[in-house]
């Protein structure tokens, strides 16, 4: 168990990507119309982080995974019914607002405090995982702020791969510009990894894992601590759908030769 790691995965819940989103402005700033009734899923990049965590834990016996998630209790319960069937974890729920408009700094403060308070978490063995960006705010700053608050100064973003070595060091591939990966080697935990898509397929649902997880998830949800996110001086002047609507020309009656000629002319035009 020399390489047993404690993996904390920060994962928000987001509206199902197939839903139509419409911003509305309320007394507390912008939000989404019918936000509470939109079906939710685990944030896609954070879900990659969770699946990679499960893969890493399986290869390193004695490892443990905590899933820290901030959202309304009812929404968390709905999403956990699905996610709990995929990988084993202990849920650390935080009962708070959902969405992309709350301040990332307040969110990070709440997450960091919750992680610091996890019983049995060995910070020397900590790998802090999450998505490199969310599908809501998409800022890519929350996880980094959590890391700073926890004193983690080996941080990697846009991660697609981690290889944990026998000596406790690990190699990380991070996405950089131009479709390349930066290759780094870190001497060991603690470290923070903001995941991109990784290389793993979504695990199949396993009802046995689901039943085992739900024994701890339901009590944890009942005890979820409420969190209020402060605005920290963040003000929204506007939030709107893009108005740009193109006047699409639908070309139905051209032969492939004619289309090709038109396209080549278009490609060559400045």
């Amino acid at each position: 168990m020399a390489n047993a790691v404690h993996i904390v995965v920060c994962a928000g819940i987001v509206p199902d990507p197939l839903q139509t989103l419409e911003p509305v402005t309320g007394p507390n700033g912008p939000g989404l119309k019918n936000e509470m009734v939109l079906p939710s899923v685990l944030d896609p990049w954070a879900a990659s982080a969770l699946y990679e965590a499960a893969n890493l834990a399986a290869k390193n016996p004695g490892s443990k995974i905590w899933l820290v998630s901030l959202g309304p209790k009812a929404k968390l319960q709905q999403v956990m019914m699905t996610i709990a069937q995929k990988v084993s974890f202990e849920l650390v729920p935080i009962d708070g607002p959902i969405g992309g408009f709350p301040d990332a700094h307040s969110t990070a403060a709440v997450l960091a405090d919750s992680i610091a308070a996890i019983p049995g978490l060995d910070k020397a063995k900590l790998l802090l995982f999450g998505g490199w960006e969310s599908a809501t705010r998409g800022a890519g700053v929350t996880l980094q702020l959590v890391g700073e608050r926890l004193g983690i100064t080996d941080q990697f973003q846009g991660v697609d791969q981690i290889d944990l070595r026998d000596d406790g060091s690990f190699e990380v591939l991070e996405r950089v510009e131009g479709g390349k990966h930066q290759v780094s080697v870190c001497t060991g935990t603690p470290a923070l990894l903001g995941w991109a898509t990784g290389n793993l397929a979504e695990p199949r649902n396993n009802p046995q894992i689901g039943m085992a997880n739900m024994r701890t998830i339901m009590p944890a949800l009942q005890k979820a601590k409420p969190a209020k996110l402060e605005a920290n001086g963040l003000r929204y002047i506007s939030a709107s759908l893009p108005k740009q609507q193109r006047n699409t020309r639908v070309v139905k009656d051209l032969a492939p030769d004619e289309i090709a000629a038109e396209l080549v002319a278009w490609i060559g035009a400045e």
Binding site: H105, Q144, A239, T248, P256
Partner: protein, 343 residues
């Protein structure tokens, strides 16, 4: 509020020159400083200290630099220390930086250390009533304009939102800023290109070709023609120098071990869980989903699509032209024309 502006910049992977994204941030800084009548500083992170002549001389900004072997490679611990030192030296209230992999890795941490705040993926700045920044939420579905009271306020700019700063090099005074290096536990060993036949992701390309899952579906003869699809796509990239994007469904097929278009990886993916690239033109082929057209194409200028579905709701209002045709036939003709034009 009296503002002072700092632009953070870094050199490219060769260490020879400032990156294009850094020069775009310089332009944004020069413009914002002019609007606010605010002092401007530019802080450079580089292994070798810039000296003598510099293209930034004409900005009139105070030029600062952090240099040393520790900054030859992008790494959280050292880059965060460098940026923190530059920010403390400049004492700026607004910090602009390119949204590069190097600075997005560290900027939020630096903002926290300075007691400030940060917003990223900024697409526009204005200073009519205080500083206001535009960015997108929910993966390019909702656009918002926001402002903050807290300072320093870090703003990371999306690439392509400003012109790159250009000027004749001139003599410049560059102040070296000392950095107290933290313990370094991470070693950067270099860059690795994904395993694929050719590099198909080209951020500087004028055109983006988007390949959808239709390329791997059964064709009118009842057969799948993946090899032919691959040749057509790679042939188009060779002729045009275009960058290749893909829909999620097509990339996922590759991840499931199915031997389809082996040159595609998740790095090619655009849309909800992929990139939102900026190119002047985009050609979508065999895409029938929302993500390429709505999310992935948000910042594509001139958009055309080839689709067999005349009723595809996602192309209507999103593409400028939709050709209802078989992409296999059309792309073969396009490649032939492009090839004969080159010959």
């Amino acid at each position: 509020m009296t503002e002072s502006i700092l632009v953070l910049a870094h050199v490219d992977e060769n260490g020879a020159a400032l990156t294009k994204a850094s020069l775009e941030a310089v332009t944004a800084g020069v413009e914002l400083a002019a609007q606010l009548s605010a002092p401007l500083s530019i802080g450079i992170v580089a292994a070798i200290a810039p000296s003598g002549t510099c293209v930034l001389a004409s900005t009139g900004a105070r030029l600062l630099a952090v240099s040393g072997e520790a900054f030859a490679q992008p790494r959280y611990a050292t880059d965060a220390a460098a940026c923190e030192a530059l920010c403390r030296a400049a004492a700026a209230t607004i910090v602009l930086a390119p949204g590069s992999a190097r600075f997005t890795r560290v900027a939020a941490g630096v903002a926290y250390r300075l007691g400030g705040c940060i917003d990223t993926h900024i697409t526009a700045l204005s200073a009519t009533e205080g500083v206001e920044a535009s960015r997108w939420f929910y993966r390019q579905r909702v656009e918002a304009v926001l402002s903050r009271d807290a300072r320093p306020w870090f703003l990371l700019l999306d690439a392509g939102t400003h012109a790159a700063f250009a000027a004749e090099p001139a003599t410049a005074q560059i102040e070296q800023i000392a950095v107290e290096l933290p313990a370094v536990r991470t070693t950067v060993s270099g860059l690795r290109a994904p395993k694929q036949d050719a590099q198909t992701i080209r951020p500087e390309a004028k055109m983006l070709l988007v390949a959808g899952a239709g390329w791997t579906k059964k064709q009118p003869d009842g057969q799948i023609h993946v090899d032919q699809a691959g040749e057509l796509i790679l042939g188009f990239l060779r002729h045009t120098g275009a960058s290749l994007g893909s829909s999620k469904s097509l990339v996922d097929q590759g991840g499931e071990g199915v031997p389809v278009l082996p040159f595609l990886t998740h790095m090619n993916q655009i849309g909800q869980t992929g990139a939102t690239p900026r190119h002047a033109k985009g050609l979508s082929t065999c895409c029938h989903g929302e993500e390429p057209h709505v999310v992935g194409w948000r910042f594509i200028g001139d958009r055309r699509a080839i689709s067999l579905d005349p009723n595809c709701g996602w192309t209507r209002g999103k593409a400028d032209v939709v050709y209802i045709a078989d992409a296999f036939q059309v792309m073969a003709k396009v490649n032939a024309l492009l090839g004969s034009a080159k010959a």
